[in-house]
Assembly symmetry: C3
Homo-oligomer: 267 residues x 3
């Protein structure tokens, strides 16, 4: 019940304060993440030019960096934006899309973790394992589940880098290196819509803008994702209708829906 109230308190603050969330994100999801932020109640802005990132970060209440469609000029802008955010105490969320797939992505993500001092790193299991240096090959026979390995990697990475790590999956795993929150909400259609992970990172930015606890912000964002996904999944007949219903669910999210559905465990 405490968690339900705390989560809805954050949602109400987002809707009332309409925090500006500055995204430097990938081309694929710009439209859908902007729509998700608007549907929830935040104010998105996308701006990537090196010449303007300092000013734009300066008027934002959160910064979301997403490396899904990298190129060299964008990396420079992300680094600059991260530096400004760090100096001004603006929470930064990093989505290390595809870390591990190419060396450019892994290196960029690692640099942004180490120098950018994100409040939250949000990725899937394989991305977090890659940032931690645990490749699929080196997981060892002890780890019967990838998710177990990812949980270990997440705790380790969070402790080492002094940030929150949020691993999305069937069970979302959010940790600051000590405390752990698990979110069991979600829907099987979510991986069939492009950019749902990126949307989770964008919403994490909105929650981080209004909640000074990065751990709670990250967990509340994942819970809202999962709950909106469940509501959308009831009406959807495929990923097309799912995406549309998902935006509506974010917009219509109320306390009774949260109370009815929230499955969050603290350990």
């Amino acid at each position: 019940m405490e968690a339900v109230k705390a989560l809805f308190e954050d949602v109400k603050r987002i809707r009332k304060e309409r925090p500006l969330v500055h995204n430097i994100t990938n081309y694929v999801v710009m439209n859908s993440t902007a729509n998700a932020l608007l549907a929830l109640g935040a104010a998105p802005v996308m701006a990537h030019a090196f010449e303007e990132v300092e000013e734009m970060v300066g008027i934002a209440r959160a910064l979301v960096l997403n490396i899904g469609t990298l190129s060299t000029p964008w990396v420079a802008s992300m680094r600059k934006a991260a530096e400004v955010a760090r100096e001004r105490g603006i929470p930064m969320v990093l989505d290390p899309v595809g870390a591990g797939a190419t060396s450019m992505r892994t290196a960029t993500a690692l640099h942004l973790v180490q120098e950018g001092k994100p409040a939250v790193v949000r990725g899937n299991a394989s991305e977090i394992l890659s940032l931690h240096g645990t490749s699929a090959e080196t997981k060892g026979v002890e780890s019967t589940h990838e998710s177990d390995a990812a949980a270990l990697a997440a705790r380790d990475l969070a402790a080492k880098e002094g940030c929150v790590v949020s691993v999305s999956g069937v069970v979302d795993y959010i940790t600051d290196g000590e405390a752990v929150i698990e979110v069991l909400n979600g829907h099987p259609m979510m991986p069939r819509v492009t950019g749902m992970g990126c949307t989770a990172a964008a919403l994490t930015g909105a929650f981080a803008a209004v909640n000074p606890s990065a751990l709670e912000a990250a967990a509340n964002a994942m819970a809202v994702m999962g709950i909106a996904g469940e509501v959308a999944g009831k009406k959807a007949e495929g990923p097309g209708t799912f995406q549309v219903q998902f935006f509506d669910a974010l917009y219509r999210l109320d306390q009774s829906t949260i109370r009815e559905r929230l499955k969050m465990k603290r350990t």
Copy 2:
């Protein structure tokens, strides 16, 4: 009644002639503005490479420049495209997204207004105030409403630059510096969908392609936006369904819907 017929005449011309509208616009809205143009009946093309803008503008019947996700190479292409459009008498619509938020945006928008000689500048109140040099701070106590200040700024800017200024808001205000048209159509869900302003600018391009009066083209575009928004709003349960229904409403727009809904005032 005159206004209803004139508006539907433009819509019919767009549907019959399928004018090519060349957009150099922001990444966030490329898909949704292309879909809006297609739904209405126009033919969108997006092309931003400096090497090809001259040829592309040359085969287009309108040019839409939108600075929502600027970078230096895109600014160069926009300037080139504006120059070619001006030389060839192709109407240009400028959407100064975020003017006032960063100096790069304000400077780029001002340059495009002054050198590019747009047929129409379409923005929200704060963008138009920023282009006019009226900051929120300098509005003074006389202006009890931001929209009053924006109306003054729009008239002034239009007269000075010899263009039409179209300010979107609860009441849209369109002026060539002397004549004023106000459009009262619209729906409260519209600001909850990303890029509705950008869509208004894109549709203004389609109307400018078929109507030699920039004032009427701009007003008719805002009326179609507002009417399609009202039709969509009746069926929508949130911004997801709203966006989808909005495209359908543009596609299905007919004279009787316009007659029933149009709220346009000339002064």
Copy 3:
């Protein structure tokens, strides 16, 4: 019946193997083509940085190049990606969007056809005519239909370049220079949604990833496009609902729907 089974066999392989399809495509359609690939069952990735294309192509099972929003750095990445794909035997699909409209597009598309050795070139009639060097002016009086001229150009281009050419239209025409497959499926709403041609190219990549016959892969992709379009068209009230229903139809596509609707002719 043979064709029905063969097509559904490909769909099942895509859903089971989830082939990674690497897209270097235009900004307008990145979201919708990623969603189409996911809805069908494939795994899309978008990556355009010169620094990472080699690695990314190396882990993909198909490469899709689409020149819809070109710029010089992207052309360099496309050429590099094509080279790597050719060396490693990864099928490449080229969508020459706007070839003929500007010299940059025509030259880039021609270079990618000649040096990149695509498995399939998929375009509309005017793009294929432009690649073939047959301008509208030179079609001659013998060609009473543009589609006749496009069929001749497609056969000729396919034979000369040793690739499959897939021309989309009311009747899709797919040829390797000798054999010809025609697909009669489709819906009149499809040209009213942006990027349907680009989606066809992306799905051609998914089929090429699982079917070693480029001719069959290209034809099966066009058939799935057309059938999903017909299913979507039954529920749609405009291009907004059409797009959403199209994704759902790809996701729900089953053998009985294919059997009921497939209209494919081999000659």
